[in-house]
């Protein structure tokens, strides 16, 4: 780590955008994302980054600027958090349906009401069906590497990518990380090109009203309707998992880091108890896993989910085939049901012969502290509990750390 620097997670994200040579940056401040756009503004004003910086009047417009720029064939970036992400929700669906390779950092934060500026994952989870690829970083090195890989992925598959990282846990803490070499980044990330880029020389009308059924174009060639366009998005989003793995291998070739782009397992090889989590919590669980193994003789492991959409269901199900207990810890949920990730994992396991006992835990909403001790205690209790709980009870999420 000779070239390592110590900086905040938000600066790591901004450095990735600088290295990626994004050309249009749209920005609207929201805690805890604000320092990303402040840093980009500083880099551009100081002449250290050659890009257009548009200080828009809302997140809805921030994504609109990105949509405009990307539709014209220019690499665009924005960042947001929480209600800012929700305010651009309509635009997220638009960008995905228009197949624009926009990259956005989402610095995860709880959603109002009531107001919370602290971390959880409800912002990203609420947008899981927008048609964006969603990846989650666990540390500063992953923020910078994952953001660079996100540009490559977005432009190969033409689907926008949301790079998520935990507000404050990562955004405002300082950690060492190694910024990739700029010349190598240029080799890794070629210029963005788009076959439908807005052009007076080759005029097309983009995203216009599209009928339910296929229709002949001016040359008599049949073109699919709305449903066909949306089906193609779904199919190609699924294929993006493999492309993400290919990109990771390329990245490893250039920079020597990577190897776990979709699932990042820790001590899972012989584990009969597997904890599944996204973001920094997965790293926190490494300590828990070590202690469970050492103090309690529980063969525990933690499986960090790095990519949430497209959902790598079969990869997860296969990784969990030898587990007896699977514990899904989440900082967000589908209200009135369960943790969204838990429900996804449960459904992914359905076609497989081995269905481990599943446990769902909701933790850390609105920044509620997640003591490592309580992760340890709840995990240990779940592994030793009676397996014969009634189905309705065993399927309900347990809320950890309530202070009622």
């Amino acid at each position: 780590m000779s070239k390592a620097i110590i900086e905040s997670g938000n600066v790591a994200a901004a450095m990735a955008v600088q290295l990626a040579r994004a050309e249009v940056i749209a920005a609207y401040p929201i805690t805890p994302q604000t320092p990303v756009t402040e840093k980009l503004s500083e880099l551009i004003t100081a002449g250290r980054m050659d890009a257009e910086y548009v200080a828009v009047e809302s997140e809805h417009s921030a994504m609109a600027v990105c949509i405009g720029a990307a539709s014209a064939g220019v690499r665009a970036f924005t960042a947001t958090s929480s209600n800012g992400l929700l305010y651009m929700s309509e635009q997220l669906h638009w960008a995905a349906g228009a197949r624009l390779p926009i990259v956005m950092c989402v610095v995860n934060r709880g959603i109002g009401a009531p107001w919370s500026v602290w971390n959880d994952h409800q912002d990203a989870i609420s947008q899981r069906d927008a048609g964006w690829i969603q990846v989650f970083a666990k540390d500063h090195q992953e923020i910078i590497d994952m953001t660079l890989k996100a540009f490559r992925l977005a432009e190969l598959v033409h689907i926008p990518v949301m790079v998520n990282y935990d507000g404050y846990y990562l955004s405002h803490t300082y950690m060492p990380f190694e910024p990739p070499d700029a010349a190598r980044v240029d080799a890794f990330l070629p210029a963005y090109q788009y076959k439908h880029a807005l052009s007076p020389e080759r005029p097309e009308s983009l995203n216009t009203v599209t009928l339910p059924d296929a229709r002949l174009d001016v040359n008599g060639i049949k073109r699919g309707g709305y449903m066909d366009i949306r089906h193609n998005l779904h199919e190609e989003m699924g294929m993006a998992i493999e492309v993400w793995e290919e990109i990771d291998r390329e990245f490893q070739g250039h920079f020597g880091r990577g190897g776990a782009p979709v699932l990042d397992p820790y001590r899972c090889d012989d584990a009969d108890t597997v904890i599944v989590a996204m973001g920094t919590m997965a790293n926190q669980f490494r300590v828990v896993v070590d202690r469970l193994r050492q103090d309690d003789g529980i063969r525990a492991g933690v499986l960090a989910l790095q990519m949430y959409r497209p959902f790598p269901g079969s990869r997860i199900a296969e990784a969990l085939q030898s587990a007896r207990h699977v514990l899904v810890y989440e900082k967000g949920l589908s209200y009135g049901n369960q943790g969204a990730l838990y429900a996804d994992i449960k459904s992914a396991l359905y076609p497989y012969p081995s269905r481990p006992q599943l446990h769902n835990f909701i933790v850390g909403l609105g920044g509620r502290e997640i003591p490592t001790e309580s992760l340890y205690q709840t995990t240990r209790a779940a592994c030793t509990e009676d397996r014969m709980r009634p189905p309705a009870q065993s399927d309900a999420p347990q809320w950890i750390g309530l202070q009622l």
Binding site: V54, S58, H60, M63, A64, C66, G68, G73, S205
Partner: protein, 301 residues
């Protein structure tokens, strides 16, 4: 003030930029405007269009009635999308004009925040609001610019009780590089104001009154005559604002020489949408017009 070009029917280009057989209603004011406006803009431009009648007129996938490159976008974000396209053009080293073309709902209501932001930033775009004074594409609901007394499907029986927004005045308060009001009934005036706007850097805003036969309750052949009546009664004034200075233009300027204008009532009576308009409302409207024109005569005599 920049000198304006003077295009006539005779020297107006015969090149067309929109195909016949499109989905616009018969006698559509927007169609006249679009057809002649694009002649001024030329091919080196990109349109940004929110949901509106223009969306429908432009054609349904995969056929475009327009020959221009268009980015259709969400309702609230026209000026912001145009900002992004223009930023991209600068990155690509292109002088391509970026033209946002939205209706009155998309401009005065849902799109006003993004437009206000673009105005404040001084984005180098042309923004055209074709004002048909209601949400016509969804079937004639009241909008911010629907005039008082006008019947719409959401102001039934007695008409809209509130006064419509003076959108050009709201835009003018942002000090745009150029502001002009136009009418679909005077397409050459619109054409030449666009030629002028193309020469100016910054945000150029053109507000165009656009008669709508089904929405206003007029026969299709009356579109042009009605827009003319709006101007000749002094209800809708054609002007330009540059450097904060308002000047009446063309047909409105010529009205300054007249001792009295056509009565407002003539305009109201041509349209079904004003049939619930009371005598008092009509008289109040006439008084407003008289007062405004007295001010113009003082100012410009």
């Amino acid at each position: 003030m920049k000198m304006a070009a003077k295009t006539t029917v005779l020297n107006l280009t015969e090149e067309e930029f929109v195909h016949p057989g499109n989905r616009a209603c018969s006698g559509c004011g927007l169609s006249i405007l679009y057809r002649i406006g694009v002649k001024a803009l030329g091919r080196d431009c990109i349109f940004v269009v929110p949901p509106s009648c223009l969306t429908v007129m432009q054609g349904l996938y995969p056929i475009a009635a327009t020959q221009m490159p268009v980015l259709n976008g969400t309702f609230a974000s026209t000026a912001a999308i145009a900002t992004g396209v223009k930023a991209a053009m600068r990155r690509l080293g292109r002088a391509t004009q970026v033209v946002a073309w939205a209706g009155d709902g998309g401009t005065s209501d849902i799109g006003i925040q993004a437009l206000s932001g673009a105005l404040e930033r001084g984005e180098d775009i042309i923004y055209i609001c074709y004002d048909n004074e209601a949400y016509m594409n969804t079937g004639v609901q009241r909008s911010g610019t629907t005039p008082q007394g006008s019947l719409t499907t959401t102001t039934p029986f007695s008409g809209k009780s509130e006064v419509g927004k003076n959108l050009p005045a709201i835009i003018a308060a942002h000090n745009p590089a150029y502001l002009a009001t136009c009418s679909a009934s005077y397409p050459l005036d619109f054409h030449d104001k666009l030629l002028k706007a193309k020469q100016i850097k910054g945000l150029k805003y053109l507000h165009v009154q656009t008669p709508c036969p089904p929405g206003w309750g007029i026969e299709e052949h009356m579109t042009v005559a009605l827009g003319r009546a709006a101007v000749e009664t002094g209800l809708f004034d054609l002007y330009e604002i540059e450097d904060g200075c308002l000047q009446l233009t063309g047909p409105s300027q010529q009205l300054l020489g007249k001792a009295c204008l056509r009565p407002v009532r003539e305009y109201l009576e041509m349209q079904v949408r004003f049939k619930a308009c009371s005598d008092e409302q009509a008289a109040a409207l006439q008084a407003q017009v008289d007062q405004r024109w007295a001010g113009y005569r003082d100012k410009f005599k």
